[in-house]
């Protein structure tokens, strides 16, 4: 399965959430590959704690160079071994967890037909090896997104493609995410142009709400009653807005609560961060686990 992670705006926590999903899914036993196609700022290395690829690889063998045709195969990094935050070995029962990083200083580029072809070759190869391939796209409409959507359209029915659209829980983010998916030249329209039906597209797209502070979340326990009451009202209005714009519960893959570790140290949340040091909230880990587990669930 190929999972395309995107968002309309920057700062949604798309990369950090997607990385966590990859990590959790691998822990659940699947072989997972993380493909960093956020060419403007390939930061997955940093999130996974891989110093050599903090802002993309410097070797000129990243995903970006591969698409341009500079290398025959992009470099792969074994996250279990290379990450400074993990124990340098694959945990028992876990699947493989591999990063295909971007290039440092990569940047955007024009789409060439060969790139779609190369992308397709890469994805085809990866789907043979891995159960889940998470592709991190940059925020908004990008050439990388066009390339990947084009490449996945012809990859064959045996490999399901899912979209995860990340948005923060605010009015502006909801409207923006709606536009990215349902608007002019949005994901759905692009898909229709590539030969999918509208229903197929809608079935393949799910939203992930990030940094959500639900009115009953523990962090908000310190609010004054008046603030809490107001916040509850705001939350209800956002729920209605989301439902109107096609981002309602039936389209949601998960809700990631606001968490101090995600906020101040964009990193993988390990179980020890929850259980031992207790710097992260258990709800956050649970939310990642749930989304990771349901990634492959067929649509309802």
């Amino acid at each position: 399965m190929i999972v395309l992670a995107t968002s309309d705006k920057g700062g949604t926590g798309r990369s950090v959430t997607t990385s966590n999903l990859a990590y959790r899914r691998a822990l659940q036993g699947d072989d997972v590959c993380y493909l960093d196609f956020d060419f403007g700022s390939p930061t997955a290395g940093a999130v996974f704690g891989i110093e050599a690829a903090g802002r993309g690889v410097k070797t000129g063998a990243g995903a970006h160079s591969y698409l341009l045709g500079d290398v025959a195969e992009p470099a792969r990094i074994d996250i279990w071994r290379e990450s400074s935050w993990l124990k340098k070995e694959r945990p028992p029962g876990a699947g493989r967890l591999v990063l295909v990083a971007g290039d440092e200083g990569g940047g955007e580029f024009q789409v060439q037909p060969q790139m779609i072809e190369r992308c397709q070759v890469l994805l085809a190869r990866l789907t043979e090896e891995f159960d889940v391939i998470l592709v991190d796209l940059s925020a908004g409409r990008s050439y990388a997104a066009d390339i990947v959507q084009g490449a996945t359209a012809t990859i064959g029915a045996g490999t399901p493609v899912r979209w995860l659209v990340f948005h923060r829980w605010t009015r502006q983010h909801i409207l923006a995410a709606h536009g990215l998916v349902f608007g002019e030249r949005g994901i759905v329209q692009n898909g229709e142009r590539l030969g999918y039906t509208r229903e197929q597209m809608e079935d393949s797209i799910r939203f992930v709400r990030t940094a959500v502070q639900e009115p009953d979340s523990p962090q908000l326990g310190l609010l004054r009653p008046t603030q809490a009451s107001w916040l509850h009202q705001c939350h209800e209005e956002l729920l209605k807005l989301a439902a109107q714009r096609g981002l309602g519960r039936s389209m949601v893959a998960g809700v990631i609560p606001w968490d101090p570790v995600l906020q101040w140290r964009e990193q993988i949340i390990r179980d020890l961060d929850i259980d031992s040091t207790q710097i992260a909230n258990p709800e956050t880990g649970q939310a990642f686990d749930d989304v990771a587990l349901h990634l492959t669930r067929t649509s309802h």
Binding site: A242, A243, R249, S250, M251, H300
Partner: protein
């Protein structure tokens, strides 16, 4: 008020879904084997609050379903699966209670009992259409149609599901039409000579002022003349109208227990709405019930019919043209029955017939206990309350009905402790047992058991509370509601398969043996109706008194005046802290003014605070001169 309907409905939902939903599907039945009334009740427990309790407890819009609702329905799966699963159950119900040609039926089935203990009813006897089933189906089908309409507009639904929903909608609409036709044909009129036993009971009932019989009869004829005239035009499907021809006879009108023997078929040839196609019901079964109204079935029918012209139904626009025509005919009968019984109930100058507890039925079947006559008082009170609602009656009249309800609560031992072997226990267990009489000369061996005194009482009290205008009457009624609710809530099953559902009367009436702990959907559905009604009691603006509005205006006048004095004195020159304070005070005064009429108490609270803040500003200035006022 102690009832918290949201919490209680959610608890009921949790228990009902945990009981009913297992292995991915809905299972019908409880204490009684599945039957057309009970299964409808079981579904209505979920569907009715979802559509009738305003916006509060919606189930059909999974995108905005509230968190606590989602948690309560956990047993049904993920929120977006709930509506589909519920509709599957509705679909199952529709198929189960239609014959091979798809014609819906309303058989009493396993709810029916043999009059003599030990006897067994034949299949033929069980296959008889009952008004209760028709009425419950009206409620169920309306809820389902409203539900479907909302669900359809709520977002993404697969094409295959959309098609299936269309079929369920068609089946529900068809059943609704059939139920309405059945109700029309169950309405009847029964006339009798003043000198007959029934005539004598009726005359004794209305004889509250010591008039001689001739004058009494004259007055009674006079008060009911209008009803009598209008009844003659209620021809469609009504048997027994010819009995009105003898002008000297007294009469009763209302619903019998089922379709009346000899009731003509109802023609359904209205203009067909292409969007809501109806199939004409060709096969309307012959009636079997005696042409004699029964108070219990009259009220039961009227409750279903009232749903047909409730605001929820009107707004959701789910009825076809044929159904609209049927609603008009049913509504006419509804109004006639209400007017008839309310006239009788209010009869008498010194004391109303209703207050002369208990009410005597004109016919009593063999073995009916006199203590159960209180059921009839309660039913007439219910009809009277609806009649007050229709004409916006004042509090004094409602006060008198509140007296009757309070008295009934005591007599039924709902709000009083019971002694051992008390006769009143029979009102709850086994309750009223109505014989399904077919002809006047022969007692029927079939009984329809009615054991809903406590919930019925609660419902009347809630309904009256929702109408009360005065704070005092409202409080009195809500206190009564709380007392009755304590009794009803005390009867919930706490252990066993039906945990969280009803009914275990042995928990309240200690002298009773603990009975069946499977849920009684009959009783549980009635509890749910009460809770939904409690929603409507709360879901209206608070009762206000003229005096508290006057007080609020006085405070507002003073606060506004002092505020403007401060501004006039140039207090705004006193720096940002003072300016901020005065700005805040100004905003509060405006907010309070907007609330004076609707929430005078809240307005007063805000204004007291404003006055205090204004006083502090003023007094602190005075202390500059060392002359602090005490």
């Amino acid at each position: 008020m102690d009832i918290q309907p949201r919490k209680e409905i959610l608890n009921l939902w949790r228990a009902a879904t945990q009981y009913s939903f297992a292995d991915g599907q809905w299972n019908f039945g409880g204490r009684a084997e599945p039957n057309s009334t009970g299964d409808a009740e079981q579904l209505v427990c979920l569907l009715y609050p979802a559509t009738a309790a305003g916006e509060h407890l919606r189930l059909e819009t999974p995108d905005v379903m509230a968190k606590d609702v989602v948690a309560a329905l956990e047993a049904m799966g993920e929120p977006f699966e709930t509506p589909e699963r519920l509709l599957n159950a509705v679909s199952d119900f529709m198929a189960r209670y239609s014959d091979e040609d798809g014609v819906p039926f309303f058989h009493g089935g396993s709810y029916l009992q043999a009059a003599e203990e030990g006897d067994k009813l034949t299949d033929e006897q069980l296959r008889v259409d009952i008004v209760d089933s028709m009425s419950m189906s009206v409620t169920l089908c309306l809820s389902a149609l409203t539900f479907i309409k909302e669900y359809r507009g709520s977002g993404r639904i697969r094409a295959s599901l959309r098609q299936k929903i269309g079929l369920i909608e068609l089946a529900a609409s068809r059943r609704l039409t059939a139920a309405m036709v059945g109700l029309l044909r169950s309405f009847t009129v029964n006339a009798f000579a003043p000198g007959s036993p029934a005539g004598q009971v009726l005359l004794r009932l209305v004889s509250q002022d010591g008039l001689d019989e001739e004058e009494l009869i004259e007055r009674l004829h006079e008060s009911l003349a209008q009803v009598r005239v209008n009844l003659k035009s209620a021809e469609i499907g009504t048997a027994g109208l010819e009995s009105l021809e003898n002008e000297n006879h007294l009469f009763e009108c209302g619903w019998s227990w089922g379709i009346v023997a000899g009731a003509a078929a109802v023609e359904l040839d209205g203009t067909v709405d292409p969007e809501k196609p109806d199939r004409t019901e060709k096969s309307q079964p012959d009636g079997r019930a005696i042409a004699r109204p029964n108070l219990y079935f009259t009220l039961t029918a009227m409750e279903g019919i009232a749903d047909l012209f409730s605001p929820t139904t009107t707004v959701s626009d789910v009825l076809s043209n044929i159904q609209q025509t049927l609603v008009q005919s049913l509504r006419q009968r509804y109004e006639l029955a209400r007017q008839y019984w309310a006239t009788l109930a209010a009869f008498g100058r010194t004391r109303s017939a209703l207050a002369d507890i208990p009410w005597q039925p004109t016919y009593r079947s063999q073995g009916e206990l006199p203590v159960n006559d209180h059921y009839y008082t309660l039913q007439v009170a219910g009809l009277m309350i609806e009649s007050l609602a229709a004409r916006n009656s004042g509090d004094p009249e409602m006060d008198r009905i509140a007296d009757v309800l309070a008295e009934l609560a005591i007599r039924s031992r709902v709000t009083r402790r019971t002694g051992p072997g008390e006769a009143a226990l029979a009102m709850h267990v086994p309750g009223l047992r109505i014989r399904l009489t077919e002809t006047a000369n022969e007692e029927s061996p079939v009984v329809w058991p009615v054991a809903d005194f406590s919930t019925s009482l609660l419902k009347r009290a809630l309904r009256l509370a929702s109408l009360a205008d005065g704070a005092k009457l409202r409080k009195r009624l809500l206190d009564l509601v709380d007392e009755i609710w304590e009794h009803v809530a005390g009867r919930v099953i706490v252990d066993g398969p039906g945990v969280g559902l009803w009914d275990d009367p042995s928990r309240t009436f200690r002298s009773l043996k603990s009975g069946d702990l499977e849920p009684s959907w009959y009783y549980t559905e009635r509890v749910m109706e009460c809770l939904t009604m409690a929603v409507s009691v709360i879901d209206r603006p608070p009762v206000v008194s003229g005096r508290s509005i006057d007080d609020a205006y006085a405070l507002y006048g003073e606060a506004d005046h002092l505020y403007h004095q401060q501004l006039l004195n140039g207090a705004l020159n006193g720096g940002s802290a003072v300016r901020r304070e005065l700005e805040a005070v100004g905003i509060r005064i405006r907010q309070a003014r907007a609330m004076v009429e609707s929430r005078p108490g809240t307005a007063q609270a805000l204004l007291f605070n404003v006055l205090k803040r204004l006083a502090e500003l003023e007094l602190s200035r005075d202390s500059q001169h060392g002359t602090v006022r005490s």
